[in-house]
């Protein structure tokens, strides 16, 4: 359920150099009442938090990030403000005038980066604070506030509403109790029914004119600050965000409406991503219908049980626990679906799709025709989630038949949703799908390194050297991800040559500009490509040919690298060009990512790409990858936490030599027929158990163990197995340690 909330901040009392602002309390009161009347939940920040810069900043930051994609957050500040370093700041209550030279005593109003990193649908920051002229207690402003030099917020979901224009001052109405001109006009306008930001601004401006005229004050014109007026922004300004409604979902447009508004650790999140081809042909089983059927009663219970075995009780990096009930009900599953074209329709839709793709416990991708949009989303998922992913192909293809699979997906176990020719139940397509999901979750439960997509481990397991994960600078390498199709070889050569020339010309020659296959390493490409994708500062992605592998790699790159990718495409491959594929998503992708279109015979566009690469060295503050940034809070919520150390070591020991192995099953290690190898594994398992037990003994301690039955059971099990193994070793030191462990266990037994 989405919601609208407002955080009201009033700073009335200041230190020397700032005027007192008695009108502030009335401002907060009248605006709070007006917002509540429009359906907003209103919080008023305590005086204590308003006086503390850190608390004030934290509260605003947390509040801005607290919403879901359909939620609205309105922050209101009435107090003193200042323009410094081209940034509009608000001043915490109690601050001395002399102290504001330091950023430790002021709080930025530009929250665009935080909003960009959040999932909140819209953040509106209303600022009635332009009142730094201490000599004029009835005014509240200063020249330069909202000046054009100010950096405009770049995040389209973040809008500021200032109480006056640049060079004007915010003023206070005379009378008792007094209130600010702007806030009074704002509250009146809300009460009069202005529901959109456009309408509100116009009405508030008109009321400010009336109030200033009536009270013989100076002109004061409120204005919005929202950066470039994009189509998305224009749409936001026209939304009825102040319309009285119980459900804000009715206010913010709901893109991809079936996607859950937030991740619930106690549910199975299942997502189906449909392809454009499949939508067009309509010849196959509807994949979403197939998955929906599978999640019903009988088969749904099977899937749920397997899912609970894989994820139940696991902790997330956020600290939350996946407390999955044993019982399967209709509430157990959050199910969403969308065609890829809907996901690519706008920035909001794509962000929401990315979130769903990363959060879902089970994603079913329709890989029919291996479309670029679908591959992009698969790439993002493969980089972010070790979870269950089913890739399903339709278009009359059946499992077992030959299928040309993209290079990076050669290992994939692709299923089919081509309908069965059988006319009677049971439906083998459904049965096979359910079995695939069930088996997948069971394997996920058993195998710590389970994967059904490439890249996850290859991106992470780069070694423990301090520089193993460090960035590869631009002057060392530019990684080019492009199609290896023979007809595009000439394109690659020209692009590489022009990049090289331009970088040299700009004084930044790059030692290597190469594709993954050019590196000459004997390492598996599936390992080396993802390491380079993660580490290379300079990455050029050439869309030409729309290779499925390239779009998968692009998805991985956009997910994991703060440096983003410079995207280019041969103009003849864009819609309208002679080599453009007949897919609507190509134009959508172009709208979303704006690749630089080049002519193979001309160098200008590639030179622009090289210049963009160079920005990565010259402008360290810039943001190069919105998608990676947007993924950070999502990953923080859904990534599994590292398992507790003792448990981790126990599992590693068991995987080498399980205490029950001798009588229950074959040894875990390969080549166990070699006595030396087996002895080494048993010894390693013993030492892991000793380490784990000692950790529990000394780090957790008996008192805490007694309070935690699971930890206690692990302590006893580990101690027993470690002692057994030490006795088997039989040397004096091992016997001594084993006896010590034995005594400690007896003390607890």
């Amino acid at each position: 359920m989405s919601n609208r909330r407002a955080l009201l901040i009033g700073a009335a009392e200041y230190g020397p150099g700032f005027a007192r602002l008695p009108a502030v309390r009335e401002d907060v009161r009248i605006l709070g009442a007006a917002l509540q009347a429009r359906g907003y939940e209103v919080d008023i920040l305590s005086d204590e938090d308003t006086r503390d810069t850190v608390h004030l900043d934290d509260r605003i930051r947390d509040f801005c990030a607290s919403g879901g994609p359909e939620d609205i957050r309105l922050v209101y500040f009435s107090g003193h403000g200042i323009l410094a370093d081209d940034v509009d700041w608000i001043i915490p209550a109690g601050t001395d005038r002399n102290a504001v030279v330091s950023t430790a005593h002021r709080v930025s109003t530009d929250r665009s980066r935080q909003v960009a990193a959040s999932r909140t649908g819209l953040v509106l920051f209303v600022i009635d604070a332009c009142r730094d002229e201490a000599s004029e207690p009835v005014t509240k402003g200063g020249a330069g506030w909202g000046n054009t030099r100010t950096q405009w917020p770049t995040e389209h979901r973040f809008i500021r509403l200032f109480g006056c224009a640049s060079t004007e001052v915010c003023q206070v109405l005379p009378g008792e109790p007094s209130a600010s001109v702007f806030t009074t006009a704002l509250a009146q306008s809300l009460a009069a029914g202005s529901s959109t930001l456009d309408a509100l601004l116009e009405d508030v401006a008109s009321r400010c004119d009336e109030l200033t005229l009536e009270h013989d004050l100076r002109h004061q014109r409120p204005h919005l600050s929202y950066g470039e007026l994009s189509a998305e922004k224009r749409a936001l300004l026209a939304l009825p965000i102040f319309e009285r409604t119980a459900d804000a979902a009715a206010v913010l447009p709901s893109v991809l409406p079936t996607v859950w508004s937030s991740f619930h650790p106690d549910k199975l999140h299942c997502l189906v991503v449909l392809s454009e081809s499949d939508q067009r042909t309509g010849a196959d089983v509807a994949l979403d219908g197939l998955v929906d059927d599978a999640l019903q009663a009988g088969t749904g219970k099977k899937i749920w049980d397997a899912f609970v075995a894989a994820r139940g009780g696991h902790r997330l990096a956020s600290g939350k626990k996946r407390a999955l009930p044993a019982e399967f009900t209709s509430e157990s599953v959050a199910f969403a679906k969308f065609p890829v074209n809907e996901a690519l329709a706008s920035v909001e839709a794509f962000d929401k799709a990315v979130r769903a793709v990363v959060e879902a416990d089970l994603v079913v991708f329709d890989v029919t025709a291996f479309e670029p949009g679908v591959m992009l989303l698969i790439g993002i998922r493969s980089a972010c989630a070790r979870s269950l992913t089913i890739c399903s192909h339709g278009a009359r293809w059946r499992e077992g038949q030959p299928l040309e699979v993209p290079f990076n997906l050669q290992d994939l176990n692709i299923g089919s949703h081509t309908p069965s020719e059988m006319m009677v139940a049971p439906d083998p397509v459904l049965e096979r799908f359910v079995s695939r999901v069930e088996v997948g979750f069971r394997q996920l439960a058993r195998q710590p390194r389970y994967l059904d997509l490439p890249s996850y481990d290859a991106l992470r397991e780069l070694g423990s050297d301090y520089d193993a994960s460090s960035s590869i600078p631009l002057h060392e390498r530019v990684l080019v991800l492009c199609s290896y199709a023979p007809n595009l070889l000439q394109n690659w050569r020209r692009v590489a040559s022009r990049l090289r020339a331009r970088l040299s010309q700009r004084g930044n020659p790059s030692r290597v500009i190469e594709r993954v296959i050019d590196g000459g390493t004997p390492q598996l490409i599936s390992q080396s490509v993802y390491e380079l994708i993660r580490r290379s500062v300079g990455c050029v992605v050439d869309w030409s040919g729309y290779s499925a592998s390239v779009f998968l790699e692009l998805g991985v790159r956009l997910a994991v690298s703060e440096w983003g990718a410079v995207q280019i495409v041969d103009a003849s491959h864009l819609p309208g060009g002679e080599r453009a594929p007949d897919l609507a998503q190509i134009e959508q992708l172009r709208q979303l990512f704006s690749p630089i279109a080049y002519q193979p015979t001309s160098g200008d566009a590639v030179e622009r790409a090289a210049d963009l690469l160079l920005e990565r060295t010259s402008n360290k503050q810039a943001e190069f990858n919105r998608i990676h940034r947007a993924l950070l809070p999502i990953m923080g919520e859904v990534q599994e936490a590292h398992p507790p150390l003792a448990d981790l070591l126990r599992r590693r020991a068991d995987a080498l030599h399980h205490p029950q192995q001798e009588r229950e099953g074959a040894p875990q290690i390969l080549f166990h027929g070699s006595r030396g190898i087996k002895k080494d594994s048993e010894k390693a398992a013993c030492e892991l158990r000793v380490a784990s037990w000692l950790y529990l003994e000394h780090r957790v301690g008996h008192a805490n163990l007694k309070a935690d039955p699971d930890a206690l059971a692990l302590y006893l099990e580990l101690g027993r197995a470690a002692a057994d193994a030490l006795y088997d070793l039989g040397d004096a030191e091992s016997i001594e340690l084993a006896t010590y462990i034995d005594d400690r266990l007896s003390a607890l037994d």
Binding site: E662, R663, E664, G665, H672, K679, Y727, G730
Partner: protein, 235 residues
């Protein structure tokens, strides 16, 4: 409330640790402490038998096939008797060892249990006690070897188990099939913990010594198996 199976598992674990401790101390020439550890193992297993007594009474009234719960009880009892016999043997209490193995063997036999440890050790105990000759043991040993081989064919889990191969190797060794024993011991050494075959070798050597002392005419047949096991362990 403590789960009965958990309680039994705890006692069995304690007994296993005590046995390993005793073995380690005995190898380190600390005989007194070793015997104390073995006695602690006997105490744990005696407790286990007391806990499992209602199971045994219940099983006495059951026939095949057993329900899953009863099959688990049987597993527990068979393991307790086998472990108790092993520790008594280390304490050089042949009568108690033989009695324990015999009770376990009776359960294995009656319920066609996949384990053969008690049955085999009942035979070995009789040989060590001098109450039976190698030749007289042959029918039992052949029957046991057949049971093990059948189980291995029927269940991959049994053929994965190091212990099953040890039992088969022992049967074949005692039957004088040195080549068969060599093959079985090779599997045993491959699948079991590195320490286990050393104990098997010790037992075989003890039996051979005892049979030689008793003048058993067939004792020579064990020599080939012992040599085979020794040579594999030297690799």
């Amino acid at each position: 409330m403590l789960n009965l199976s958990d309680e039994l598992a705890t006692k069995l674990n304690q007994a296993r640790t005590a046995r390993k401790k005793g073995d380690a101390l005995r190898n380190a020439n600390q005989e007194e402490r070793a015997r104390a550890a073995y006695r602690a193992g006997v105490a744990a297993l005696t407790d286990a038998l007391r806990i499992a007594a209602p199971h045994e009474a219940l099983l006495a009234a059951k026939d095949l096939p057993l329900e899953a719960g009863h099959a688990r009880m049987l597993d527990d009892l068979v393991e307790i008797y086998g472990a108790l016999g092993g520790i008594h043997q280390r304490l050089e209490s042949p009568v108690e060892a033989s009695e324990s193995y015999s009770r376990g063997a009776a359960l294995e036999e009656r319920f066609r249990h996949r384990g053969t440890y008690n049955r085999l050790n009942a035979v070995k105990s009789a040989l060590l006690a001098g109450t039976q000759t190698l030749r007289a043991s042959e029918p039992q040993l052949r029957a046991l070897a057949a049971v093990i081989e059948t189980q291995m064919q029927e269940s991959v889990n049994v053929s994965d188990s190091g212990w099953a191969w040890a039992d088969l190797g022992d049967c074949l060794a005692l039957l004088g099939d040195a080549e068969g024993a060599r093959r079985a011991y090779a599997k045993f050494i491959s699948k079991a913990e590195t320490k286990s075959p050393e104990r098997t070798l010790q037992v075989l050597e003890t039996i051979a010594a005892k049979l030689r002392e008793l003048g058993d005419p067939d004792v020579g047949r064990l020599a080939g198996a012992i040599d085979a096991l020794k040579s594999r362990l030297a690799v």
